[in-house]
């Protein structure tokens, strides 16, 4: 049985973590934390979630606690934002390198300096190369669904997962969300089996120094060198695509909601103009597409749900018929362009996709992004492409640039 409640994104994430029966929650409780950690502490205090709640003095330590608890076989959860995520950066690599199925919600916020408490995606995009799977949610329902899926994915591929959602736009905005029944979640999510069982009877050296080359252990086993371990992580991330798609499909069968796997599409069947984004902007783009279609422009949306592993094959299929590709991004790789733009163009290499890609940086530090602004941007790009100027430098939407 599922019931519908009108809740914020933070409440959806907390309820999902509780439904997944997390056993350890570690969180730094103050700025830049969100209400999510507070709700979970109330669950633990009231006894509705039987978990150890560890308050730490920093996000770096929050992740360290998660790593330790996950290593000894606990299902763990944490959440952070913005500079807190950046402070965790070193331990993010450590979690991925240890191949621990930690799930963390990142409530996307702008990064200081200058200080901001509002939304953009610079924080999670800056963690691209840490070896974490990154899922971006378009609405509160998808937050609920993605946290549940994240544990199943993480515990199969032994890689940590970041479930990212836009601060304020989703974290503090109430929407109707289907709350799945506890039994349904329990049957979808088998108990966590760690890849290595640690016990006092069977002690292990965890993450010892690895030398450049493989070497024979004292027991005569040829042990991986550092590079072999890096390759195993890369292989696991590449292979996780299939697990993510399968998990999404099986979730749809069990729960009746399809999040699309690696990406989702809206009105793309006959679309020549494709708008694309991650997170809540992609949801806003659906409203823009409805308006563009009302004005006679055949537009559709491709929402990129998973940023790592990058859905290379999936975008090559989803964009194959596009005549124009228009991106809206809430982050910037300083000195080049939006991160999604670079990734997409690289994925199109040696495919038949030669459509111009127009990249718009939008909504940094919480600046509102309205559907009609996306419509105007898309129309100006379409017009420029039709009139023979397909190339366009990265533009900053609704920003004073001169």
């Amino acid at each position: 049985m599922s019931d519908v409640q009108i809740i914020t994104g933070n409440q959806a994430a907390a309820m999902a973590a509780r439904l997944c029966n997390v056993q350890v929650v570690a969180a730094y409780p103050i700025t830049p934390q969100s209400q999510l950690a507070e709700i979970l502490s109330q669950y633990v205090e009231s006894g509705s979630l039987r978990a150890e709640y560890v308050r730490v003095e920093s996000e770096h330590s929050a992740m360290t606690v998660c790593i330790s608890a996950s290593t000894v076989g606990a299902r763990v959860f944490t959440a952070t934002s913005a500079n807190g995520l950046l402070y965790m950066h070193e331990q993010l690599h450590w979690a991925a390198g240890s191949r621990l199925p930690i799930v963390m919600c990142v409530v996307n916020r702008g990064v200081g300096a200058p200080w901001s408490i509002f939304n953009d995606q610079q924080d999670s995009l800056s963690q691209r190369d840490t070896g974490w799977i990154q899922i971006h949610c378009r609405d509160n329902q998808e937050i609920m669904d993605s946290v549940i899926q994240a544990y199943r994915i993480a515990e199969q591929v032994y890689a940590p997962v970041m479930v990212c959602y836009d601060g304020f736009v989703l974290s503090h905005t109430m929407m109707p969300v289907h709350i799945p029944g506890a039994n349904l979640v329990r049957s979808f999510l088998p108990p966590y089996k760690p890849h290595t069982i640690l016990s006092p009877e069977n002690p292990k050296n965890i993450n010892p120094v690895l030398l450049p080359n493989p070497r024979m252990s004292a027991e005569g086993i040829l042990c991986d060198g550092y590079m072999e371990m890096r390759y195993k992580l890369q292989k696991a991330m590449e292979d996780s695509r299939e697990v993510i798609i399968k998990t999404s499909r099986e979730f749809a069968d069990a729960f009746g909601r399809d999040n699309g796997g690696m990406l989702w599409e809206y009105r793309t069947d006959d679309a020549e103009v494709i708008l694309s984004a991650m997170g809540s902007v992609a949801a806003e783009a659906m409203a823009a597409v409805d308006q563009l279609r009302a004005e006679g422009i055949g537009a559709g949306v491709v929402g990129i749900r998973v940023f790592r592993p990058f859905p290379k094959e999936d975008v090559a299929r989803a964009f194959r018929k596009a005549k124009a590709i228009i991106l809206f991004e809430k982050s910037i790789s300083y000195g080049y362009e939006g991160g999604l733009s670079s990734e997409l163009k690289a994925a199109f290499y040696r495919t038949d996709i030669h459509a111009p890609v127009h990249d718009y940086i939008v909504g940094l530090g919480g600046r509102d992004v309205k559907a009609r602004e996306l419509v105007e941007a898309a129309k100006s790009s379409v017009e420029a492409i039709r009139s023979g100027t397909p190339e366009k430098h990265t533009s900053w939407l609704n920003c004073i640039t001169e």
Partner: protein, 97 residues
């Protein structure tokens, strides 16, 4: 064919020589002057600061203190800590290079 490492993250069973024969890393080797070494002089268990401070655990704390040169990396902490200056660090001939 030796068995392959199947683990997804780096883990090892603790064992002597787990990191290989680390004695190869050494440039200077500790040499004990038993005429100064306190347990040897007093002929009873005593001092053992070398054993306590050795970061590699290669010092054997007997009446005659011994250092396992197969694994001693030659860091010199024992010589630094020895209160009777019984340990000197001596350059090794580079036979293995």
């Amino acid at each position: 064919m030796k068995s392959q490492d199947k683990s997804v993250s780096a883990m090892a069973d603790p064992a002597v020589g787990e990191a290989g024969k680390t004695g190869d890393w050494r440039d200077l080797k500790p040499v004990i002057d038993y005429g100064k070494c306190i347990p040897a002089v007093k002929n009873r268990p005593a001092c053992y600061l070398c054993w306590l401070y050795c970061p590699e655990g290669v010092v054997k704390a007997g009446i005659r203190v011994e250092i396992d040169l197969t694994y001693c990396k030659g860091c010199g902490v024992c010589a630094e800590e020895c209160p009777s200056k019984a340990i000197s660090m001596v350059r090794e001939e580079k036979g293995h290079e």
